[in-house]
């Protein structure tokens, strides 16, 4: 379903993704783990047509996201790591817009939107503007939106970051159900090792742009001679703490935007 061969991405001199190859089968739940800055998000961006690879080949359900992005886009859905909602629209409007962009028919859209908003506990806030939401509420809305259309492949980039255990649980229950009923392929990243161990059928560990190990949780533990995936992960990637990227001046942008649009918050 997902086939990656010798994928490389350079930003100037910096090698973000360094010659990686892997494949994910249809209906598989695949975890992509690595420390901050290891190249996870860059790889997802290339798979989802947002970035062009420097070299290497990609295939999603037989379509190349770089050369034939329109076809590839019909086959996947994605929940991004950072916000991608329209703050000036209500929760319902964000969901509805998404459904229309992804050709979800009117009846199905309304029914699923209600079901999903209830399940992320935002149904009674559906007519509130997203800019009035807390970080956690926005996160939940992003997830509900990402699950609205049922694509062949779902990418989730740290979907459970900042979610309470209840929401996390029901999200995975929904995804597993989708995976079983519709053979949906699920590709996700996370920093919660026990989550990856519990959910994923196979796991790839990436560090400094290279895949350093790939296999089931048990295989990774055996390979590193450790008792848990967390220990296996640390033994493979070391214990140095990695730097997160800066926010790229977003704080200032936000205040400028507020000034120009004259919004109150």
């Amino acid at each position: 379903m997902i086939d990656v061969q010798n994928l490389t991405k350079k930003f100037g001199d910096f090698l973000a993704v360094d010659d990686i190859s892997f494949n994910v089968k249809q209906g598989e739940i695949f975890a992509f783990l690595g420390p901050n800055g290891a190249g996870k998000s860059t790889t997802i961006k290339m798979l989802t047509t947002l970035l062009h690879p420097t070299s290497g080949s990609l295939s999603l359900n037989g379509h190349n996201p770089t050369e034939d992005p329109e076809k590839a886009r019909r086959d996947f859905g994605i929940v991004f790591q950072d916000p991608s909602l329209d703050d000036e629209l209500t929760a319902w409007e964000n969901i509805d817009l998404h459904g229309i962009l992804y050709d979800v028919s009117n009846d199905v859209r309304k029914e699923r939107a209600e079901q999903l908003l209830k399940f992320v506990d935002l149904w009674d806030r559906k007519d509130n503007f997203v800019k009035e939401f807390s970080g956690g509420m926005k996160r939940r809305l992003e997830i509900a939106r990402g699950l609205l259309h049922h694509p062949k492949i779902i990418f989730l980039d740290e979907p459970t970051l900042g979610l309470d255990p209840q929401t996390r649980n029901s999200m995975w229950a929904y995804l597993k159900d989708l995976n079983q009923k519709e053979q949906t392929t699920i590709f996700f990243t996370t920093h919660y090792m026990e989550e990856a161990e519990r959910i994923a059928q196979r796991i790839a560990i990436i560090d400094h742009g290279k895949i350093i190990s790939i296999g089931t949780a048990d295989q990774l533990k055996t390979q590193t001679n450790t008792a848990s995936l967390e220990e296996a992960f640390l033994s493979l990637t070391g214990k140095t703490i990695r730097e997160e990227e800066g926010d790229g001046g977003k704080g200032r942008m936000r205040s400028m935007h507020r000034m120009w649009s004259g919004s109150r918050k």
Binding site: K45, T48, T49, L50, L51, H52, E70, R73, R74, F76, I78, F80, D82, P83, S84, L85, D86, D87, E88, L89, E93, D96, L97, H98, I100, L101, Y102, D103, G248, G249, K250, R252, M253, R254, M256, H257, W260, S261, G262, S263
Partner: protein
């Protein structure tokens, strides 16, 4: 079609919800209309050019349209910074349709803004020679609006942050406005200025408005409309190509 509609609707909602922006962006055209209109009125009259408010009003309508339209186009920088652009970019919709939805949305918004300025101008003494000309004038206003939303979107799609916004305002919007014949007649200008005004698409928009509302034009309505339609088409088409090349 439905996808274009929903993108159009998003622009309209965003506009109608920012009340302060609507009111705020009326202040500038109003100031220009009153200060220049009444300030230069007698000089203009003595130079044998007639009523300056009447001459100026189509220019100020054009001004409010170009500012609103470019601003709406430039909003794509914010979509990028706030992340919404990603949602749009991964969606299964052709880049041309995104561009059409956005420009029609921005076009509608800027036309509404232009219409409000038209009404205000009438309240402050603007008297069109042909009142019925207002109806075709609305169509021309929409064309101008779509053209500059497309231009704004196109240029801003290449920019990453706020610096880009200032750059566009100072090096694109201001010159396009001041060199368009919005404020002065295009006859008997120095050669260099004549040349510059003739490559500014806004000149043709304002000229068409003057033709329809006042009955006098510099380029002529056929030339005006031909230029507006061709340039709008070109910008929308180019914009969709710029969209294809966006990487996040």
């Amino acid at each position: 079609m439905k996808k274009i509609y929903i993108i159009w609707l998003r622009q309209i909602k965003r506009y109608l919800r920012s009340k302060t922006r609507i009111v705020g962006s009326l202040a500038q055209p109003l100031l220009f209309l009153l200060a220049l209109g009444y300030g230069f009125g007698s000089v203009f009259q003595e130079a044998g050019q007639g009523n300056y408010i009447n001459f100026l009003a189509p220019g100020i309508i054009g001004m409010s349209i170009i500012f609103t339209a470019m601003f709406t186009g430039i909003e794509i920088i914010w979509d990028r910074q706030f992340g919404f652009l990603k949602e749009m970019m991964v969606a299964p919709i052709s880049r041309l349709d995104i561009m059409i939805g956005r420009t029609l949305g921005g076009g509608t918004v800027a036309t509404i803004q232009g219409t409000v300025v038209l009404i205000i101008a009438i309240l402050f003494g603007f008297r069109p020679t042909y009142w019925l000309g207002i109806i075709p004038a609305l169509v021309v206003m929409f064309l101008i609006a779509v053209l500059f939303t497309a231009l704004g979107t196109m240029v801003a799609s290449r920019m990453e942050d706020m610096q880009g916004f200032q750059l566009i305002m100072n090096f694109l919007v201001m010159p396009l406005f001041f060199l368009s014949g919005a404020l002065f007649p295009l006859e008997n200008l120095p050669k260099a200025l004549t040349f510059v005004t003739s490559i500014d698409p806004l000149s043709y928009g304002i000229d068409a408005l003057r033709h329809l509302l006042l009955g006098s034009a510099h380029f002529g309505l056929t030339t005006d409309l031909t230029v507006l339609v061709l340039v709008t088409g070109l910008f929308v088409w180019l914009g969709s190509h710029f969209f294809k090349r966006i990487q996040i």
